[in-house]
Symmetry: C2
Subunit: 348 residues, 2 copies
């Protein structure tokens, strides 16, 4: 079999003990400069690579950050394919991997079959920290708390005090989007969203929408609130309802780009011209926004940064030790102006 170059080989080559080699490797200032250099040379000469399994065994640390994707069995059976299908995850992972590597960690990517799986994997692999992607049923939090390692959640409004939480101000986002419409002369504004009434991201955006309406002195209209799945198909499928309730509605705030994209497709098929007949504003700023027609005006959040920040917070706690007072990290948002909203201010 191939024999691994170990710390012993290095020690022999350098004519020192393994303890000294270990000290040098770990930047523990004990060796004299001369020995240190000898060790370094030996490492170089032998092309020594430390065995992280061994290190992990004794240190109980793996230099591994777990990224957990939601993939419970029921979901999985329906569509394992969709695990990462959300374009959101793409950028998130990019940011997370970037930051992890920058700080000498690697990413372990895994879906979790059930709520217990994460705890198990964490123990088994001695993970140093965890980032949870996606939404989880309440009882999963109990398991997360068993983990004696830093945990970061994304976009959650639950149990916030126990975990790192990387999010944006969704209420403000909903407000900004709606206000943008108002500023462009719209008053008859509908909202297209999902799970808009259960506590969470979408509900906050909905609150922001209502705040902006109120501020503009426009009454909220139940019949212009459309609830659908947060998917392309959801948006696409909503067209019938939207059109039949429309009457003099001039604009819609879609709480996620992905449903806006579906809606746009549906509207096109019904020969409703955007933004001439109906203005649309989205939320997220997916890459696709730029390439669809019309290019979608939207509330941008920096998803790359979200991934980067999540890993950053986790590593921060790894380094500093347990933080019993975790404070949300709120990332900025901004309106990206494209062509899906018409200015009707003068037309009134």
């Amino acid at each position: 079999m191939k024999n691994r170059i170990t710390i012993k080989d290095v020690a022999k080559e350098a004519g020192v003990s393994t303890a000294t080699v270990s000290n040098v490797i770990n930047n523990i200032e004990k060796a004299s400069n001369r020995t240190r250099q000898r060790v370094l040379d030996a490492i170089e000469a032998l092309n020594y690579q430390p065995d992280l399994s061994a290190r992990s065994l004794v240190k109980r640390k793996s230099s591994l950050i777990g990224i957990m994707l939601p993939s419970f069995e029921t979901q999985e059976q329906v569509a394992p394919t969709r695990l990462l299908a959300n374009p959101f995850y793409n950028m998130f992972l990019t940011g997370a991997e970037y930051e992890a590597r920058r700080q000498g960690y690697e990413i372990l990517l895994t879906g979790c079959r059930d709520e217990k799986a994460v705890v198990d994997i964490t123990h088994q692999r001695n993970l140093d920290g965890i980032v949870y992607l996606g939404m989880y049923p309440k009882k999963v939090y109990a398991y997360m708390k068993q983990l004696k390692i830093p945990v970061a959640l994304i976009d959650t409004y639950d149990e916030v005090e126990f975990f790192h939480n990387i999010c944006i101000d969704d209420e403000e986002g909903g407000y900004l989007a709606t206000k943008y419409l108002v500023e462009h002369g719209h008053e008859k504004i509908g909202i297209l969203g999902g799970d808009i009434r259960v506590l969470g991201v979408m509900q906050r955006r909905f609150e922001g929408y209502k705040r902006a309406l109120k501020e503009a002195g426009v009454p909220y209209r139940e019949e212009w609130t459309f609830e659908v799945d947060i998917t392309c198909e959801g948006g696409y499928g909503s067209v019938r309802d939207v059109l039949s309730a429309r009457r003099d509605m001039t604009a819609i705030f879609a709480v996620a780009d992905i449903i806006a994209i579906g809606l746009l497709k549906g509207l096109r098929e019904h020969r409703i011209s955007v933004p001439k007949d109906l203005s649309i504003i989205g939320f997220d700023d997916l890459e696709a926004c730029e390439h669809i027609y019309p290019p979608l005006t939207t509330v941008k959040q920096d998803i790359f940064k979200k991934g980067k920040k999540a890993v950053e917070k986790v590593i921060e706690e790894i380094n500093q030790g347990y933080m019993n007072h975790k404070v949300k990290t709120i990332l900025p948002i901004e309106i990206i102006e494209r062509e899906s909203v018409q200015n009707i201010k003068n037309k009134k």
Copy 2:
């Protein structure tokens, strides 16, 4: 500190030796059914989780499959953000993670700074197998060969005999796309691609294009060959060239959806109507194809399956031992008919 439940604890609880516990865990048929059950009960009672670092140390196997993303320093400095930006990777990872987990492995996701980094990480982490995503400079292959573990490459035409290679028949794909256009009455067909003359995926698609033209008795026209970056911007930027060379060209084969999408956007801005004024066919079948306007007719490859298959081949070799005769895995492709190609057969 928290004390880990070890194999010793289980042994004590079950009143057996650690060797017996180990045998039971690893499904080595030695223990009697009675002892086996006692051990299983103890494991259950204590909620024992094996320490994979320790196991990895002794077995020199980690149950970890590495997925390498291209991210060499030059690229990274320009745009670390784009590491995973390609929507292709999304689906690929989903498939890879799915298969890995199904077989009891986990995914280690990492970009590699330089060609040596992979070798180092592989050694350090005792990775059991590697999947390379993206394209690499030739000299990287030399490093890959040092790895004494199964390696899968995606879509490569280099050094194929040394690695697993998961690909499609790109020549056939180019042929099918072009033939589809021919069958719809087109003869004046351009091609939009990148790196079309260097050996590789794009070049093969180009070959297929030429074969279909030849078969149709249509001469190949240099001036209708457009080379651009394989990005949205590339496609978008090509519009000027395309339009000025166009004359009586009726269709274009874009060798990747991503450039087709950019092209579509550019054409729209020039008020060229697709497919009425110009037909477009793409390649890949990105999710976006369905949601843009017009929905893009394209050559579909199953990217989820590509990821799944790559991991499958790697694990196969892990289980069966070194294969000195690796044979390409060629995944099927098919035309997905949407609305970006006009049938002009009758108009002639």
